[in-house]
């Protein structure tokens, strides 16, 4: 029984990782931009959820309002800053986006202070299902898992099955050719970028009630996000999902069965996979 619950823990953690990393793999893989500030948007999402939920009294209202703010911010940032980075050296992208991390952290400190804050779980989902004599499973965590699965399905459908997805994929292979076919590639990039950031912010919003809201929360998730993206294959949504689930499994079972190695079990997994497939599991050709 305990093993089954640990399996559930692994899947649940893996799905959350997928949600965190999906926006990164989109922006990194399709636009070729390394966005170090990805974690900052996770943090921005969490703080927006905290602030708007307190103002409106409901997380359900805070999420769409917050998403609107982030998408607007994403479109502006893309037009003002990121548009200049396409096709440039990755080092310059790292420099710019690292600068953004510092700016967002400082703004966060000025606007919200440096305390740890909590967001209440919506009353509708604030209960637990008893699994064993002592242990219950919080329904909110299961709800997060459901949302992650839904997002994975929508993203897969959008990119693989729709006309828009076709244009996005074409744009990532040959930007100029797509442009000469009369497609407004700038608008598409702007959209992808905003969606990538919105996904990170959404992850922050939906995780806020269970993870709390605190300074530096963005940088904490950034590394594991890159691990997911690299293992899965840069730009592959399917890869990100598989990689996230593998990491969830490795991390959870590592903590239980090999506690002394749990700190680096995930990185060991990454090393092994990269030796076997240097491109990651599902890199598109």
């Amino acid at each position: 029984m305990e093993f089954l619950i640990q399996l559930l823990n692994s899947i649940q953690y893996g799905l959350l990782l997928f949600l965190l990393a999906s926006g990164l793999t989109l922006v990194f893989g399709i636009m070729g931009v390394i966005n170090m500030a990805h974690g900052s948007f996770y943090m921005i999402g969490a703080y927006l959820a905290y602030w708007l939920a307190a103002k409106t009294g409901s997380l359900w209202l805070a999420i769409p309002l917050g998403l609107a703010v982030v998408i607007l911010l994403g479109v502006v940032l893309e037009a003002v800053l990121f548009r200049r980075l396409y096709g440039r050296d990755h080092l310059q992208q790292v420099l710019l986006t690292f600068g953004l991390i510092l700016i967002f952290e400082e703004l966060r400190s000025i606007l919200f202070g440096d305390d740890v804050q909590g967001v209440a779980i919506p009353a509708l989902l604030d209960f637990s299902i008893p699994l064993t004599e002592n242990l219950s499973y919080p329904v909110y965590r299961l709800f997060i898992s459901g949302v992650c699965l839904l997002i994975a399905a929508v993203m897969y459908w959008l990119i693989q099955k729709t006309r828009l997805g076709m244009m996005i994929r074409a744009g990532s292979s040959n930007r100029r050719m797509v442009q000469s076919l009369g497609i407004n590639i700038n608008a598409i990039y702007s959209l992808v970028f905003a969606v990538g950031l919105a996904l990170a912010a959404f992850a922050g919003m939906i995780a806020a009630p269970s993870a709390s809201v605190y300074p530096g929360m963005g940088s904490q998730i950034l590394i594991i996000c890159f691990v997911v993206v690299v293992i899965g294959g840069i730009g592959s949504i399917k890869g990100a999902l598989v990689a996230a689930l593998m990491i969830g499994m490795t991390d959870t079972l590592g903590k239980v069965f090999l506690p002394d190695f749990s700190g680096f079990a995930v990185y060991l997994l990454m090393a092994v996979i990269l030796l076997w497939r240097p491109q990651g599991l599902f890199r598109r050709a």
Binding site: S109, D114, V116, L135
Partner: protein, 400 residues
Amino acid sequence: MHNDSTSKNARRHFLATAGALSTGLLLPDRFALAQTAARIRVGLMLPYTGTYAPLGNAITNGFKLAVAERGGKLGGREIDYFTVDDESDPAKGPENANKLVQRDKVDVLIGTVHSGVAMGMVKIARDTGTLLIIPNAGVNAATGGLCAPNIFRTSFSSWQTSYPLGKVLADRGHKKVITIGWKYSFAEESVEAFSEGFAKAGGKVVKELWVPFPTVEFQALLTQIASLKPDAVYAFFAGAGAAKFVKDYAAAGLKGKIPLYGSGFLTDGVLEAQGEAAEGLETTLHYGDGIDTARNRDFRAAYAKTFNSQPDVYAVQGYDAALLLGGGLDAVKGNISDKKPLIAAMEKVKIDSPRGPWTMSKAHNPVQDIYLRKVVNKQNKVTGVAAKGVEDPARGCKLL
């Protein structure tokens, strides 16, 4: 930004005077020396940015409040403050401490919050002989293996805050306990101290669970706790980790079935974020809410009036740092350059602290009461004394 405005004004005033004199009398250098010797140079090396910024500010406020209550003077001498933001970055610790000692020529270093950074300050203090007062960092070695005549602490040692809890749990009839904490030195020292106290009182730690610092994914270990069914759980987390752990513990249905205890850092400064999940939780620390003494009430009122916020344990530790320095300087009439008599005087100071009176141990760590506290209505209410006059064993200290 963090330069103290009074010191700036003082400096400006001094420069103006010195400038006027230098043109008139051509005696600037001698005058300057006489002037600076009359003031005490205090180097505050604390975190003013990052996660620990509120702690650094509380310590600074506490220190300045105590100085203000003594008429802005310690040992009859006025204070010049020199401030460095240590960013809680251990890599920059020695360098920042050196800046204050070598460049600013401070008489005394006050700092810091993060134990890793404090170890860098300890090194510089030992190398240069500069007086150091630690107003928070609990790392055992600072007043243990690395203790020195010129190093004092006004806060606690990791050992002190967790050792007494062991007996509390044993007295309540808990026999099998699981410990859980972050894998880093402060948590490891705390868990070790708890286990020592618990074993001595006849209990047994059946399993130690560790989480890599600073990750906050606890679900796998909570599942393990549920299936091992201990009598109680001792947890060491702080800040965001503490907030999430306490909430996850409650959400997993463990709260109310397996009692959770911890050192006070599990619930200090994070009760707002923990909300309902923390209600009823019991912890040990050297300070808490509702210590009903005139001393504490006066301190809290004065602090709230001056800074428009409620003081916490960190403010008390900063306050006591100034009481210690002031007490020592009073006894030697403000002579800070002669270190030996000053240190001897500081060792004898009885600190009339808001937390309750305490004295210095031979290793220069407070001998103090450790309170048992219970979370009631988002406050860490003191419900009793877990152990009276707790003295850190100061293992490896050569001052003993």
